[in-house]
């Protein structure tokens, strides 16, 4: 392992709770994670796993009913260490977009519908202290071209005049305007058609390879992780339950939930596959099951799992899983491998 790899962003024991009328929703429960400079990390999990909440907490965009307590998020800008959760006002504004930009799930909702694309770009630049209109315009035109749009047409368009794929590209161009070092993408291709989805995936791969940007992909779609990530974190009930290299996760998962997800998802060109679903339903985040929250759905669960929640156990230098029975998962996979290659 390369020990000189810079830790760009560090999450330590981050908890996020939402206060609701029916109780306290524990959306994120103690996530500790290092984001390395230049890597692309996928956060995968189903609805309610806490992945979007975790993304929002990094850019401090959580709603008012959410509290981050306890927890610490540290961002490193050159030699400086920044306590993200303590940022306020101008410093926060500078951190968002400049250091860390977020591209939201629905590209249409991310735009102001009554502003032309150019006005939104200018607004973004100006609110971050960049007032040279001409320079902003040139830079933005260049970025629109980079994302393979017709710059002169798009820059004067209103969001509704663009197709879904064009809006997603425009949003990517906008997110690159201030040259952030970290880009968080929440379900970047979810509502798009297949061919459009492919062009966005290829564009994201190009951005990843050409620009020195660290990326976090948040998705329920395992394919996004397989296509774009170097590392994958599986989330369940607000925790990272497995973390590993993309090949570790897809071919050698050690958490029963990760294994279950992979066994539940068909490929297109992988030939005939026998698929299995995970029994039961995702947990109630107000009333979590005792011990490991996955135990009611887990075929490996023992009485220990009902009592004690496992920590992330380091299995290899690149992989960790929060499961008391990860060795049983390993044995199970030896008998019944995943994704047998032909």
């Amino acid at each position: 392992m390369n020990t000189t790899v810079q830790k760009h962003l560090t999450l330590e024991n981050v908890h996020v709770n939402y206060q609701t009328r029916s109780g306290n929703v524990q959306a994120v429960r103690g996530v500790t994670l290092d984001l390395l400079a230049g890597e692309s990390l996928a956060l995968i999990g189903e609805s309610g796993s806490g992945k979007t909440t975790l993304g929002l907490s990094i850019v401090k965009l959580l709603v008012d009913t959410a509290t981050v307590e306890p927890g610490r998020i540290t961002y490193r800008r050159e030699d400086q260490e920044i306590d993200v959760l303590a940022l306020r006002g101008n410093q926060l504004r500078e951190f968002r977009w400049r250091d860390c930009a977020m591209v939201f799930q629905s590209a249409l909702n991310a735009f102001n519908p009554v502003l032309r694309v150019w006005e939104q770009a200018l607004d973004t630049a100006q609110s971050h202290g960049w007032h040279d209109r001409q320079a902003v315009r040139e830079r933005f035109l260049e970025l629109l071209r980079y994302v393979q749009l017709d710059p002169n047409r798009v820059i004067n368009a209103y969001p509704h005049e663009l197709s879904g794929g064009m809006r997603q590209r425009t949003l990517l161009a906008l997110s690159l305007l201030l040259e952030p070092t970290i880009l968080i993408l929440d379900e970047p291709t979810t509502a798009l058609d297949i061919l459009t989805q492919r062009t966005i995936i290829d564009l994201l791969r190009q951005i990843k390879n050409e620009k020195n940007i660290t990326m976090i992909f948040i998705s329920h779609d395992l394919a996004i992780a397989a296509e774009l990530a170097n590392r994958v974190a599986t989330m369940y009930a607000g925790r990272v339950v497995e973390l590993g290299g993309v090949e570790d996760i897809f071919y050698r998962p050690r958490h029963p939930y990760t294994m279950g997800l992979i066994r539940a998802v068909p490929t297109v060109l992988g030939g005939f596959e026998e698929l299995f679903s995970i029994p039961g339903s995702p947990p109630d985040l107000i009333n979590l099951p005792s011990g490991c929250p996955f135990h009611p759905r887990c075929s490996f669960a023992t009485s220990k799992c009902q009592i004690e929640e496992p920590p992330l156990i380091q299995i290899t230098p690149s992989q960790a899983a929060a499961c008391w029975h990860w060795q049983d998962v390993e044995i199970e996979l030896q008998n019944k491998p995943l994704r047998v290659r032909k």
Binding site: Q148, I262, L269, I278, R341
Partner: protein
């Protein structure tokens, strides 16, 4: 024997004559009793419109829909009602398709009594319990008195299926029926639907944009690919997935992101000439795929609408240029 369902030269237009959208164009489709047919394509290809016409929720603008050999537009009242009962639809959104003010039991007993599948409240309740058992909502007593808001998306979708089963359908149209359900439970829903086919001989028209799901669900059935209102290719699933011939099918299969890093890396790219899908208000002449097609032949593809021609390997392809050409979608 006549196929269970036959669509003959169906067109469906929306809008006024000034701004007319052709959602479905010259569609021909025969579905045999007991088949599983997957209708796939991107948004706007006409797959959902087709599904809605099949169940009688939308009338076609022209053409005929035959159910068990009988034109549904010519049926007498009794036959039409029997057809409407025999063909049921499961909608995409289980949050919108169930009445929020009705407990599950009532949702099932009402149609059972209305359609005389049960004669008394007690026998209707007994049948409702059996139906919940069939869709794996067990123990049944946990679900009978619940309201939709007390159920998860997957459970609601099972209730939709149970509700469709009250009238003992012969044919089920499932329109993106598992798209809104979490991945971990999708497969059990699909397996439950597949069981209906084997246990009750239900014929399926499964509509989806997800090719991986289509492959899984219809592995022993048929895939029909639509593009801008027309069928461009159809055939046995295993042939269409492993040896697609229409350039659009090839482009789709090459484009789908794969949930497997090795496959994702090995997939070959197919460059289209244009990334944007043409507007349905202003469709290209000739083959509607020609402005994007890497193999388009000027003077031919932009003039003639290609016919669906049978190929020896199974099914048919609407591309005279490429129908005999196989391509490799994966690098070794």
């Amino acid at each position: 024997m006549a196929p269970i369902l036959e669509l003959k030269n169906i067109n469906k237009y929306f809008g006024s004559s000034k701004e007319r959208v052709t959602a479905v164009n010259s569609l021909e489709l025969r579905i045999e009793q007991g088949e599983i047919v997957c209708l796939v394509g991107e948004s706007g290809c006409g797959k959902s419109t087709t599904g809605r016409m099949v169940v009688g929720l939308l009338p076609p603008s022209d053409g005929q829909i035959l159910f068990e050999g009988q034109d549904i537009a010519q049926m007498n009242r009794a036959d039409y009602q029997a057809y409407r009962r025999a063909v049921q639809i499961i909608h995409q959104d289980p949050y919108a398709s169930l009445n929020p003010t009705q407990p599950i039991q009532q949702m099932l007993t009402t149609p059972l009594l209305r359609h005389k599948k049960a004669s008394t409240q007690r026998s209707a309740e007994k049948r409702a319990a059996e139906l919940l058992e069939i869709v794996d909502l067990t123990p049944v007593s946990d679900f009978m008195n619940k309201y939709p808001h007390q159920l998860s998306g997957g459970q609601r979708q099972r209730v939709s299926v149970a509700r469709a089963l009250t009238v003992e359908p012969k044919f089920i149209v499932a329109d993106e029926a598992v798209s809104m359900v979490d991945v971990s439970i999708r497969v059990s829903l699909l397996n439950m639907l597949a069981r209906l086919k084997s246990e009750f001989d239900v014929t399926f028209l499964f509509i989806t944009h997800d090719l991986a799901l289509a492959k899984y669900f219809a592995w022993n059935g048929r895939i029909v690919v639509m593009y801008l209102g027309r069928i461009v290719e159809e055939g046995p699933t295993q042939r269409v997935i492993t040896d697609p011939r229409h350039p659009y099918t090839q482009a789709l299969l090459a484009a789908v992101p794969e949930a497997d890093p090795d496959l994702a890396r090995r997939k070959k790219q197919i460059e289209l000439r244009s990334a944007e899908i043409p507007s349905l208000l202003n469709l290209p002449a000739g083959c509607t795929f020609h402005p994007r097609c890497p193999y388009a032949v000027p003077g031919q593809c932009d003039r003639l609408v290609p016919a669906l021609d049978a190929i020896a390997e199974g099914g048919s392809v609407a591309c005279p240029i490429r129908k005999y050409e196989s391509i490799e979608l994966l690098a070794a």
